[in-house]
């Protein structure tokens, strides 16, 4: 039986093709090209020595890169947890019928609207040991006697970077959760109330299940986004002091644009891609089985 494509189907392909072509050019091609580069020792101009999987062997021949992956996972974990705690609490508050709610909604999404470079520089000045506001306040309150170099301390630098990233990223979670909360029908709450649910039980049996699809998508997006974050960490610490905040994105940037080892940088990026893919896969599996 010969299958013929109907006019409607051609029209469908026609509508899909612009987006498909753009995706192929802007997403698929760079991904494949990046993977291709990882098999070469190259300066991207005139040296293209095929080295097979040597870059990958080189990367895993010591624990340094693996250590940076774990550091990145640790940073991502605290950042995402911070986003969810702050984002959910603020979304629940903003969902209440409070006075000035619109004003606070506008104010609270401001960090999300500011460019990352601006946020990085802003916080860097706040943390500055000589002129920074934090040291000034703490010294004024006699909580510290000498200025502290927050970004120059291997322990505090990591915390400082995480705080900045939580501040920058919580509005996305807040907005998505708020949208999710508003999509839950009031009838369900009323039904729960009639069935004898108190506020906590309503939250547990109506709000949380209603939010789960939104939370899953937000969790995947947020984790992957912050796992590969670069800009603010670079501005705040450049991965330092020492290697205290040297997450994989910083390391990849240095490999490519400071050491000009594009092949190794591409191999690292491919590994990061698979880590991100794995995170998304695990989340989907865990949450879909939880839903079942």
């Amino acid at each position: 039986m010969k299958h013929t494509v109907s006019k409607e189907q051609w029209a469908g392909y026609g509508f899909v093709s612009p987006a498909a072509i753009i995706l192929l050019l802007l997403v698929t091609y760079p991904l494949i090209y990046g993977a291709y580069i990882s098999f070469f020792n190259t300066n991207l101009v005139n040296i293209w020595d095929f080295v097979g999987i040597h870059q990958y062997i080189d990367i895993f021949s010591n624990w340094e890169f693996v250590g940076k992956i774990f550091l990145t996972l640790k940073y991502t974990f605290f950042t995402v947890v911070g986003h969810f705690i702050l984002g959910i609490i603020l979304a629940l508050v903003l969902n209440m019928d409070l006075r000035g709610r619109t004003f606070f909604r506008a104010i609270l999404i401001l960090p999300w609207l500011l460019p990352e470079v601006v946020v990085g520089l802003l916080w860097k000045w706040l943390f500055n040991p000589m002129y920074g506001l934090f040291n000034y306040i703490l010294m004024d309150l006699h909580l510290i006697s000498d200025p502290v170099s927050w970004l120059g301390d291997t322990y505090f630098a990591f915390i400082a970077v995480t705080i900045v990233c939580i501040w920058k990223g919580y509005p996305m979670v807040m907005l998505l959760v708020l949208a999710g909360l508003q999509s839950i029908s009031q009838d369900t709450y009323e039904a729960a109330k009639i069935d004898g649910c108190n506020r906590m039980q309503s939250f547990r049996y109506v709000t949380v299940p209603g939010l789960m699809p939104v939370l899953l998508v937000t969790l995947i997006l947020d984790t992957v986004w912050w796992f590969k974050h670069f800009t603010m960490i670079w501005i705040l610490t450049e991965g330092g002091p020492g290697d205290a905040t040297n997450v994989v994105s910083i390391d990849i940037f240095k490999q490519a644009f400071q050491y000009f080892d594009f092949g190794k940088a591409a191999a690292m990026a491919v590994i990061v891609f698979f880590v991100c893919f794995l995170i998304g896969y695990v989340y989907r599996r865990v949450f879909s089985s939880a839903n079942e």
Binding site: L44, I47, R105, L113, M130, T154, Q258
Partner: protein, 444 residues
């Protein structure tokens, strides 16, 4: 209805921020594409990617030289693309990969090997001619050449030296530090509480502790002044590193002790890059800084009252004084269609009159012999830099040399960081391992 209001509020806020951000931008810089020739009018447009354009007062000075050249040559239009020095090498690599290089770009002996490996630079020995190049200091031409091919026309030399507050030194009865012991003594004397409120508000030394090329280039002459070399060829011609030798460890220990033990460095050392260190000098919070002569221009532009109060001296020594050439110049792109025109402009740029003008404004040293003999080079402000050139060493001809800035920067920054668990021995071993890994890869 309420969610609509929220969307409207958010949109207005976003729009306001967007407009504010856009209005803050200057007119768009020309893209770093290949040069163009307006065939109709016969006007040649030269696109020049310049690190100096991002600096004050160097940028305006360079621009005024270009303006003067354009006045004399109405058929030439010079368009600058300003790229900060820390970003320059990355930008060139990306543009080279995209075959979109400008006619000329800022280059240094540290980067020229990478550029040469990419085959993107014109042989300037041929372009300018050997006779013309005899007007330059021979060691600078040698430093800027590979296999007898000149890779960049040296424009300014910024040897690293010690810049210090001559007026404070005289007041304390101190002389220019000759050794590191003299330096430490001076730094201790000049670290003080000037307001009498029990808090230190003036420090002896503005140490640049950021982990980048800026910090790395300052530590390497210190390392060498202790008799250790980050990389060198041994008697058999093989590359070796001294980074884990006792001399290198002594240099590293001394450098970090300035902050950790002697406390003669302002707080936040790992965040102190060149701009911050220059500001510390300009605001009278620090007495000494290791830097090139261009730092004098930067400091004076922030505080003109310091004119005549900043002196220079070669970097103190343990074994011998050391300095980098700090050469900065322009490479001509191999793909440029206006090589002759670029060469003519560059000759104008490095001419005695313009080199002395740059020196006057920014402090950078000229690269031509005649200009170097000028009276204005003998002031206390500049004499130390001229003397430092006597101790300048050549950049090792190691292809991955630029990684050594990061290797040593990782060393000192790790040790400078508060709460660091590393010791000098362990970090020196790590640095030597990194260096040996690179040496192992060289030539493979």
């Amino acid at each position: 209805m309420k969610s609509k209001r929220m969307i409207w509020t958010s949109s207005i806020l976003a729009l306001t921020l967007g407009i504010t951000a856009c209005s803050g931008q200057k007119s768009e810089a020309p893209s770093a594409g290949a040069s163009t020739k307006d065939k109709g009018k016969g006007v040649i447009t030269l696109k020049i990617m310049s690190a100096t354009q991002t600096e004050t007062p160097g940028g305006p000075a360079e621009k005024s030289i270009a303006d003067k050249y354009m006045e004399q040559h109405p058929n030439v239009k010079i368009e600058f693309v300003g790229v900060p020095m820390n970003e320059m090498y990355k930008k060139i690599s990306v543009l080279a990969a995209a075959s979109d290089l400008p006619d000329a770009f800022t280059s240094t002996p540290e980067f020229m090997r990478t550029a040469y490996g990419m085959n993107i630079t014109e042989d300037l020995t041929k372009l300018f001619g050997a006779d013309y190049l005899k007007e330059f200091y021979p060691n600078m031409i040698q430093e800027s050449s590979i296999d007898g091919k000149l890779q960049l026309l040296p424009w300014t030399a910024t040897p690293q030296a010690l810049i210090y507050r001559g007026d404070w030194f005289e007041k304390e009865g101190l002389k220019a530090p000759e050794t590191w012991d003299d330096f430490l003594e001076a730094a201790k004397k000049l670290t003080k509480d000037t307001k009498g409120n029990g808090k230190t508000d003036q420090w002896g030394f503005a140490l640049i502790g950021t982990r980048n090329t800026s910090g790395g280039t300052r530590f390497l002459p210190v390392l060498r002044s202790f008799g250790a070399e980050e990389i060198r060829k041994d008697a058999s011609g093989k590359w070796v590193t001294d980074l884990d030798t006792p001399k290198a460890k002594a240099a590293l220990q001394f450098y970090v002790d300035l902050n950790n033990k002697y406390h003669v460095v302002p707080p936040g050392v790992t965040e102190t890059g060149f701009p911050e260190a220059a500001s510390l000098m300009a605001t009278g919070k620090a007495a000494m800084i290791i830097s090139g002569p261009n730092a004098i221009g930067t400091i004076l532009s922030q505080n003109p009252e310091l004119k005549g109060k900043l002196y220079s001296a070669p970097i103190p020594k343990k074994e011998e004084h050391k300095a980098t050439f700090g050469l900065l110049g322009y490479s001509v792109s191999a793909q440029s269609k206006n090589k002759e025109a670029v060469a003519d402009y560059l000759k104008f740029l490095v001419s005695q009159e313009n080199a002395l003008k740059m020196n006057d404004v920014t402090g950078t040293l000229p690269t031509k012999i005649e200009a170097g003999k000028s009276q204005q080079m003998s002031t206390p402000e500049k004499a130390g830099f001229v003397k430092a050139l006597e101790f300048a060493y050549s950049t090792p001809t190691f292809s991955a040399y630029s990684q050594f800035y990061d290797i040593v920067a990782e060393e000192y920054q790790t040790l400078l960081a508060t709460d660091s668990k590393m010791t000098v021995d362990s970090i020196a071993k790590k640095a030597a391992d990194r260096a040996n890994e690179l040496i192992g890869k060289e030539g493979k």
